[in-house]
Symmetry: C2
Subunit: 288 residues, 2 copies
């Protein structure tokens, strides 16, 4: 049986056809434009592929409450063309297949747990640090959604004593995303991250913010593995800095061999699926 999968992100849509074994058989990437441009391309891609179900990992905020009349509808997303767009319902109607929906980051967490760098544990926190900061959580076979879905990027963290930058978040100013996502990094230092390699204070401050957030996530979720992905995390020098700060900030309070200098590199890790976590997780949504 052929299955469809979509990773609907803020900058691109990844479309794929896969099978029950989790293999991707065909894939196409298109830019995220206005729905009037993007959706016809999606429909055109899938229409003769013979898929029986479609898994959708979508950017958010999106209504994931199956009892809600607006299930699968985008909410107050910064992508203004997509606000209130009923993405799930449109795809279900135009493709005439059942559509299963979760957030892009939740399906990435699930993909890392099923196929990637967290297959040996029962819980996995996936964080992406890029244009925004988001996260998904996999726990014993399910992803975490509730009143809404997690919005991990919008927690407040304590400011670095040397940081005078006011933050980019339109809703909260200097929340985590406002201080540590790619755009904040660029505006604070006047250059993009890849032009700042070797400037130690940039990465020390970035690691300080991300590590603070990870300590909060450890206290709240107690994940058995943390996977850090997204464009900013391609700066691999961040990993050892973040790990060191996490150990310092926890100050021995949580007992685990993983939270020691010896083993933390097996606890806070890069994605195992590199750029395929989202699309593989979307496919997993409709695998039996």
């Amino acid at each position: 049986m052929l299955l469809g999968a979509i990773e609907a992100g803020g900058t691109k849509f990844v479309l794929a056809v896969g099978n029950q074994d989790g293999e991707i058989l065909d894939k196409l990437t298109i830019p995220t434009e206005h729905p009037d441009q993007t959706i016809p391309k999606v429909v055109n891609y899938f229409k003769d592929k013979g898929i029986k179900k479609l898994g959708l990992g979508a950017f958010g905020p999106i209504d994931l409450n199956q009892k809600s009349p607006t299930y699968g509808q985008l909410q107050k997303t910064p992508k203004t063309d997509w606000v209130d767009y009923p993405l799930g319902a449109v795809l279900q109607e135009k493709l005439s297949v059942p559509v299963v929906i979760d957030t892009d980051v939740n399906v990435a967490a699930m993909a890392e747990a099923k196929f990637g760098n967290a297959t040996d544990v029962d819980s996995c926190l996936y964080i992406t640090v890029g244009t925004g900061i988001g996260g998904g959580f996999y726990y014993r076979g399910q992803t975490l959604n509730g009143l809404s879905h997690p919005e991990l990027g919008h927690i407040k963290v304590r400011r670095h004593p040397d940081d005078r930058y006011q933050g980019t978040c339109p809703s909260h100013g200097d929340c985590l995303e406002g201080l540590a996502a790619g755009p904040a990094l660029e505006k604070r230092w006047g250059k993009k991250g890849d032009q700042l390699v070797g400037v130690d204070e940039v990465w020390e401050m970035e690691a300080f913010y991300l590590a603070q957030a990870l300590t909060i996530f450890i206290y709240v979720l107690s994940p058995e593995r943390i996977v850090l992905g997204g464009g900013v995390m391609k700066q691999k020098q961040l990993f050892p800095l973040i790990r060191k700060y996490v150990i310092d900030m926890l100050n021995g309070y949580v007992s685990s061999p993983y939270l020691t200098a010896d083993q933390i590199d097996q606890y806070i890790v890069a994605p195992g699926l590199t750029d395929e976590a989202g699309i593989k997780g979307a496919l997993y949504l409709v695998m039996d």
Copy 2:
């Protein structure tokens, strides 16, 4: 079939016999002293009761990893007499019944979801604000544990601009518990909470810290209900202050009718089981 239940807290142990319907048939409360004094009293209580299984909701930190050789053993708890005490193993051996263990706050969250103020939803965050600050999370039939168990009280929050108090936490100084648990309140203002009723700035500051924490928990866990218990929350004037701050701090970012002035009193609520959440949750651990 008769079942045993223990709520093992830092100041008292509640011992009970119950049945498969979740009814408490008999109950005894004893003080938490040295294990050499407390454990014989526990054994004496249960020894002729004919219980077939025992549910234990325990203070922590405690090892809940069933693969660990120290499963059920207390860890670096501030109750120094109990550090490294193998509570689960001792009870199992002395009472010759299977023992199922979770944290006191996780079982309270589960009890509120099964019998209390969160029976209509699929997830429930239970927070206790008392001698310490802790929390448990119930999600679709399970409680949340992982690398360890949640330690919600130890997140860092931003300081109130008028607060000069340094915090009480031996590990982190001014973490949430260090700034907002009962002992912090007493040391900051020089009096116990119940002698400070009517002093507005006390409760404004307390609500500021607790609401900040709740916004973090909403962003991370997206709970469908938040139950606030513990000694400090007996100050009922805190509830409206906390609810107002939560709405202000979220600033409209999470879309839900529950996060509006009209309905938030149905979202952030007092316990439905008042002081019985812990013991009822411990019983639920061993109900079929």
